[in-house]
């Protein structure tokens, strides 16, 4: 009998204890909610899509967060990058227009500015935390507009704080992304529409911006660590963009190969590939070199998860800086000094040639390398409209237009002025010289004559 009483008592005490802890946790969640939810923004931008060979405007939905008292909102580049018309709905359900301030495809971050002139209320600003101090298992809340359902809060824990994704992943606008950061993985429900929304710890500080989730899986969401976001947004607010140094090396985790390179136990970063024409290339760095230090400071990437920090380390130099690399090659150490170059835009500006039925892009240095082009002359064909003049003439996406009517196209500005001149005159016969994967070919476009007659009656 005595034994049974003890059991019951214990059970009661235990239940009381759980009750108390539960209320505390609940209260923390309420507090965290109240500190961030008022700064949450439901974003409806109209973005431009050039992939089909014509400019198509697309209304999308995403999430965002007010992070600055002047009404700046952070969201994903893939939500509002270069968006034209942006409607934001604030927490109080008031609609406020916003403008696109700048963005950074490599980190998938964009900054918008709310146009608050007619806004009756006062905006709330969220506190940004420190993503370096988060812990696996830590409880978090995700906030945003999954499937356009605004002001949605979901809860979970941090599943991993150093998830690595290859930077081969591309944004819908074509840029490779994710090279400079790891990801915070969470099991808080994240769905399409959550993109750009905050991941929040229980002290109400934002520790990440939710950006990706895995289809055909449950509870695998990924947030960009807020420390990366802070740097990116600061650069965008100051310069309108993030400026990065580029030396042109692709690296590989050293772990599997350290014995082969006689570098067992030695910290270092293994160069797997050198971009042709890059600072690394012209300074004779080569695949198999192991970078041990940058400007005397040791660097290491034994594991894939350490690569983003190394790339970021290089990128964080002011473009044009001289850096000194200590390199292990054939078990000897050498020093290489090189001057970094500006990474520049991953993808060039877009342009629609509606008369010809195609869209083109300026060719950036990174596109030149990626597409094995000799130089950045010409323009890159982004899309070809089906059964348009360019399509019929055999122009294909990824072609490079080298000349128009035998006149060399130097770049996008050149192309646009030539196109506009020909369109203004109403030229219906256009001969393009095209570079397709290293081979030259001709394309004769038959452009529909413009109808100069009176506008159609309604």
């Amino acid at each position: 009998m005595a034994g049974l009483t003890a059991l019951i008592l214990l059970a009661v005490v235990s239940a009381l204890g759980t009750q108390t802890a539960f209320s505390e946790l609940q209260q923390q969640i309420y507090d965290a909610r109240d500190r961030v939810l008022p700064a949450l923004v439901h974003i409806q931008p109209v973005i431009k899509n050039y992939r089909t060979g014509e400019l198509k405007k697309q209304a999308v939905v995403g999430s965002g967060l007010i992070f600055h008292p002047d009404g700046y909102v952070v969201t994903n580049y893939h939500v509002a990058g270069k968006a034209e018309r942006i409607i934001c709905t604030l927490y109080d359900k008031e609609q406020v227009p916003a403008i696109y301030v700048g963005g950074d495809p490599p980190t998938d971050i964009a900054v918008l500015k709310l146009q608050l002139d007619d806004y009756p209320g006062r905006i709330a600003v969220a506190d940004l935390g420190n993503s370096d101090s988060v812990q696996v298992g830590q409880q978090v809340l995700a906030m945003g507009s999954p499937l356009s359902l605004s002001r949605t809060v979901s809860a979970g824990v941090i599943s991993t704080k150093d998830r690595f994704f290859s930077s081969d992943y591309r944004l819908p606008s074509g840029e490779r992304t994710g090279r400079y950061n790891l990801w915070i993985q969470t099991d808080a429900a994240i769905n399409p529409g959550n993109s750009g929304g905050p991941l929040v710890d229980l002290s109400g500080r934002v520790i990440g911006i939710n950006s990706r989730a895995t289809f055909f899986a449950n509870n695998l969401g990924f947030a960009i660590p807020i420390n990366i976001v802070k740097e990116t947004t600061a650069a965008i607010l100051e310069h309108g963009k993030v400026s990065r140094s580029w030396i042109g090396v692709q690296c590989q985790a050293l772990q599997e190969l350290e014995d082969y390179f006689g570098a067992a136990g030695t910290p270092g970063v293994l160069i797997a590939s050198v971009d042709p024409g890059s600072p690394a290339d012209i300074n004779f760095l080569k695949a198999g070199d192991i970078i041990m230090a940058i400007d005397g400071e040791p660097v290491s990437a034994r594991f894939l998860e350490e690569l983003p920090a190394f790339y970021k380390r290089i990128a964080s130099h002011r473009p044009g800086s001289k850096i000194t690399l200590r390199v292990l090659r054939d078990e000897n150490e050498y020093e290489f000094s090189l001057v970094t170059k500006e990474l520049g835009d991953l993808q060039g500006e877009d342009f629609e040639c509606s008369d010809w039925g195609l869209t083109v892009k300026a060719i950036t240095q990174q596109m030149q390398i990626e597409n094995q082009l000799q130089d950045t002359l010409g323009v890159y064909v982004m899309g070809v409209k089906q059964v348009g003049a360019a399509d019929v003439a055999g122009v294909r996406p990824r072609d490079v237009i080298a000349s128009i009517n035998r006149k060399t196209v130097c770049g996008l500005a050149d192309f646009i002025s030539m196109y506009n001149d020909l369109s203004a005159v109403g030229t219906t016969k256009i001969l393009l010289t095209i570079n397709r994967h290293g081979a030259i070919r001709l394309a004769a476009l038959n452009v529909d004559p413009k109808e100069d007659g009176p506008a159609h009656e309604q």
């Binding site: 190969l257 590939s273 055999g394 030259i440």
Partner: protein
């Protein structure tokens, strides 16, 4: 076998429609008059049943399939022809798949109609007629009765031809006769007595005229979508014919093949060495060229016959040996490519060329001596490493085009086959990777790869490091080895 029938069944319907439209009215005009009782006996003397096991490899996996076909003995020492279409598609499949698809006959068995069974070896398949060759082996003294084709047969529209086809295994007797008519005597894209009403299941069957003279075998017209390109197996366009055009591969064409049967890996086609595009009407108008068709030279390959002949980028070829090139759209390009390919290495060819200059367009003749085309991916030398479970092949011309690399500066071997779950796959290899170094040794050919790997077979290291080119970048691949 079943799969072949299923895949080909699709072509039977349009053929039968054509048959109804074109052949039936003719029956009324003049009836055929074959002595099939006699022909059946004749056919059985040189006909055989060819049973083959064929390995089809698609990079990461290999399927085996069985083929059962009607064959014909064509020489006394036992050379046999059969429909080799399924063996001549490697290049076509490979150019679409981006990696080598390879069909390899692993065993051939031949059964004569007297019930005798023979072992045979696969010899090769002609790329143009798609006639396959096998040779009966292990019967040194035996003399076979071959079919004797009649040369210089005069084909006439309206004359009848007959053939025998092989029926499925579960029916008896195994042969069935079929009658057709010469429906047209085609001049272009090649000289070809066309028949209407036969099916692709009857390809390579011997055709007899009403005097029961063997006049050739059933074959298909040069298919514009066939991948025998000047660039050595690279063409993106599909052909414009949905229905194969069947007709007579004449005794003259067969004789050449029988004397010198095609051998796997031996180059049997010529090339000029240019990349080209069709002279469409729109482009002709721009270039102010008065030609009904032609080809534009977009690039001239270093060291090629075209280079030696003095071809230049921008040249427009409008005649071959005085005959106009009627190519005014991309889909017809392979007519040109095939014509060149079939001419054979060493042939002198005169091309009529427009050469647009700054002021005037010159018209000139360019004389080129064709050479053997570069190897196709499926013919490239291969090396298999069983321990690490990968297969590589030499880089060929088509690879350099596909990868946009220069032959002088870019060397290596292409990973052509990987075992699923094999060691090389686990190490991170992908089909199409170009191995440039193994350990620290540069690899320029499969023999280099073989030599390095042979050393490892002795040393048995725990891991082998490969330096690999993939997607315009390089990387190191560590394969953990298990040596048995």
């Amino acid at each position: 076998m079943n799969s072949r029938i299923v895949t080909r069944a699709g072509t039977l319907l349009p053929l039968s429609i054509l048959l109804m439209l074109l052949v039936l009215p003719v029956y009324g005009a003049r009836a055929q008059n074959f002595d099939f009782e006699h022909l059946d006996r004749v056919v059985r003397t040189f006909s055989v049943i060819v049973e083959m096991k064929v390995e089809l490899s698609f990079g990461t996996h290999t399927n085996e399939q069985e083929e059962r076909l009607l064959g014909t003995v064509v020489t006394e020492d036992g050379l046999v022809i059969f429909d080799g279409s399924f063996l001549a598609q490697d290049d076509a499949l490979s150019s679409f798949a981006g990696f080598a698809v390879k069909t390899t006959p692993t065993s051939v068995e031949i059964t004569a109609f007297d019930g005798e069974v023979y072992d045979a070896e696969y010899v090769g398949t002609d790329r143009f007629t798609r006639i396959g060759f096998a040779r009966i082996v292990g019967t040194d003294d035996k003399t076979f009765t071959p079919v004797r084709f009649t040369r210089n047969h005069e084909f006439k529209v309206g004359s009848w031809v007959a053939l025998y086809m092989l029926l499925p295994e579960y029916v008896n007797p195994p042969l069935a006769a079929d009658v057709g008519m010469i429906s047209a005597l085609l001049e272009a894209p090649e000289k070809f007595p066309l028949t209407v009403g036969y099916s692709v299941l009857e390809l390579a069957s011997v055709l007899f005229d009403e005097q029961l003279t063997p006049v050739g075998v059933l074959g298909s017209l040069a298919d514009p979508s066939a991948p025998q390109t000047d660039a050595g197996g690279l063409i993106e366009s599909f052909g414009e014919f949905d229905i194969p055009m069947l007709g007579v591969i004449t005794a003259e064409r067969l004789e050449k093949l029988i004397t010198d049967p095609p051998q796997r890996g031996k180059i049997d086609r010529a090339w000029l060495g240019i990349t080209l595009q069709a002279l469409t009407r729109d482009i002709a108008e721009f270039l102010e060229i008065d030609a009904s068709g032609g080809i534009i030279v977009n690039d001239v390959v270093k060291g090629s016959p075209a280079k030696k002949a003095g071809f230049r980028i921008g040249d427009v070829v409008y005649e071959i040996n005085g005959q106009p090139i009627e190519i005014d759209r991309e889909e017809r390009l392979s007519i040109f490519q095939r014509r060149i390919a079939q001419m054979g290495a060493g042939t002198s060819v005169e091309f009529s060329v427009f050469r647009p200059g700054d002021q005037v367009t010159d018209s000139l003749k360019v004389l080129a001596i064709l050479e053997a085309a570069p190897l196709a991916p499926s013919d490239a030398a291969e090396y298999e490493n069983k321990a690490l479970e990968f297969k590589v092949r030499d880089l060929v011309f088509a690879d350099y085009i596909r990868l946009n690399r220069e032959e002088e500066s870019f060397k290596g071997v292409v990973v052509s086959e990987l075992q699923r779950g094999g060691l090389a796959t686990l190490g991170g290899f992908q089909i199409g990777d170009v191995i440039q170094r193994i350990d620290n040794t540069p690899v320029r050919s499969v023999s280099d790869a073989e030599a390095v790997m042979a050393k490892f077979e002795v040393n048995r290291p725990d891991e082998v490091i490969f330096f690999v080119w993939r997607d315009n970048k390089t990387m190191f691949i560590n394969v953990k080895a298990v040596w048995e």
